[in-house]
Symmetry: C4
Subunit: 211 residues, 4 copies
Amino acid sequence: MAVTAMPRARFSEAEWRTRVDLAACYRLIDLFGWSDLINTRTTARIPGPAEHFLINRFGMLYDEVTASSLIKIDSEGNNVEPSDEPVNRGGFTLPAVVHRARPDVACCIHTHTVAGCAVSMQKDGLLPLNQHALQVIGDIAYHDYEGTGRSDGERSRFLADFGDKHIMVLRNHGLFVIGRTIAEAFIATTGWSGPARCSWPFSNPVRRSIR
Amino acid sequence: MAVTAMPRARFSEAEWRTRVDLAACYRLIDLFGWSDLINTRTTARIPGPAEHFLINRFGMLYDEVTASSLIKIDSEGNNVEPSDEPVNRGGFTLPAVVHRARPDVACCIHTHTVAGCAVSMQKDGLLPLNQHALQVIGDIAYHDYEGTGRSDGERSRFLADFGDKHIMVLRNHGLFVIGRTIAEAFIATTGWSGPARCSWPFSNPVRRSIR
Amino acid sequence: MAVTAMPRARFSEAEWRTRVDLAACYRLIDLFGWSDLINTRTTARIPGPAEHFLINRFGMLYDEVTASSLIKIDSEGNNVEPSDEPVNRGGFTLPAVVHRARPDVACCIHTHTVAGCAVSMQKDGLLPLNQHALQVIGDIAYHDYEGTGRSDGERSRFLADFGDKHIMVLRNHGLFVIGRTIAEAFIATTGWSGPARCSWPFSNPVRRSIR
Amino acid sequence: MAVTAMPRARFSEAEWRTRVDLAACYRLIDLFGWSDLINTRTTARIPGPAEHFLINRFGMLYDEVTASSLIKIDSEGNNVEPSDEPVNRGGFTLPAVVHRARPDVACCIHTHTVAGCAVSMQKDGLLPLNQHALQVIGDIAYHDYEGTGRSDGERSRFLADFGDKHIMVLRNHGLFVIGRTIAEAFIATTGWSGPARCSWPFSNPVRRSIR
């Protein structure tokens, strides 16, 4: 798409607003130092009757994402419009589980920060050691690591583990946060980040079997 | 207020100097990496017979604060002048306790740095392990965490715990520093920051009851 | 060489592409914070029948390296073209061992990052504590520290320890990564960096004899 | 001194070169993140028969120091030329001990880095855990902390503890490095910095009596 194109005209007002907010979210994640090259993703639901979602173009760094470059996909990760843009369908697996099962979830943010990964490696997870932690600790779920392949069985366990929480610690992996708006998911990620950074050196990790 | 307004004309010389110093203090806190988005605050007393104070406009980031944007409030957190600017009255609770009880205190700086929070989570607090620590350790008070609601009883205990010290470790929370001038409070915060950064990985935290 | 020279004309297309990629690799290593002044190096094989390699000019910082400033050497570290540019022949010792023995290796990246050195100081090396670690842990070799002098015996042990892995932890020293392309070696270094940063504070180092 | 003055004309060639190198050293210390506001100092001997030294103007930050702003003092810390520039005589105490006793020492660098302070707080000091450490460990001396007042007795013990080493760990305080040139002292500080940053989280500090 040429720089001189007028992308906004191609989208409904609702889709355009979602694109702008989601692109801003990618940029903020980069600004806060939470990105991991191309290895995580943030997805958002486009309001409306169709089950359409936005995701970053595979291979694009977080500080490169723009409103227009986001790709519209259905709940299976297929391109909605004819496109030769690459989609990270494997990366959409986990967000898709949540987006399909919970229409109230507008946004999924998945991160691999050093502090977040380190707390995810600790047997006790985030401890209630300070006020920052108290603000999020009641909203944290945990999901055990089952390997990189996602089976149907794991999808069910993942949703069950989530329950009604917004912050999911993917044990020995990272963080997965959901929100009813993009802003809510971002704020929850921020709320997790503070206590994680204070706490991560304090506990001992547990060596877990990977089978 | 328009950018072209001449704000200084609206203020007494004493108030204007306090505004400039306090805004500089907000900017320095940001520059030193001690800010926590909109979650802490710094307040200053305006010299003069009236019990008036300055606080940041709620929602403004530390690197956005200007001398003119600071809001004048009384010791209850009410706007002194007609204004629709939002005031973080909950955030003024703790500074108000100090400002009302101790006219000698010109400035309260409250921070949530990673090192400061981490030391606040340690049973022994700051240990006398190096020369930096010796320079402040005699001036440090500790106040146990009692939850997010501030009762009258806690206000009394908070003042009693402070005694004649300038640096208060809010256990399992963060730091609260006072000074007879804005500069003094800033320097004391700096003096705490060095030993906290050297020391925080060394002690074990204690899990505290939050009731 | 004057700035106005047209360096590309002096090189074959294959050499020029290797120069551009290797210089980009030096710049990326600097950008990611993995450089250590002039104390490590990255080398690349120039495709073709001759056993020629590129290395940085000794004394040049990583953010100063350019495609044209790289020096062409043979497998003994001798300048291939008449030149008074200094070559770090001692620094080429270890890469030379790999480049001579394994024609499939196009690039060697040697780093001394804080996290990488710290993990190299730990008895158990990198632990399988998170998904990042799982992505590289099967591709990691370990070589015990034998001192700064490199004997013929050590060269054999170094190659034997490497086996068919791409990531070598030089115990009590740092990291040595190889790839069939410059990009592959860089990506493997990136893949190591994440779990190393999450893991390094968790294990206890072991004091090793240096004889 | 006005910006338009030609400071160089006021100085001998030897003094001017020392000024330029020492100012560069201050700037590099700031660039490497080793400065501590106005709380440390670096001093250099001006070559020549007179026992004259250069020190930063008290109150100037490291990134503000210029060749012309450095102050010329004698071995007692007195201004050599009529000047109303403030000299940190207390801060010159320790460098003066070395400069007077050892004419071979051209430069003293005193720092309070987080990693350096943290290692200084550890009973065993820097451990021989990696190659970086091996490069400096034979050149490290230790001096126990005796408080902030420097007695004649301590000066003797300080020199005796230094022996013929270049890197002095001031226990529970920081680092003091000397060199026969400004560059040598800077390189030695760099050589210490790497292993200190790798090692500081690994050992347990010891609580020392401060009397």
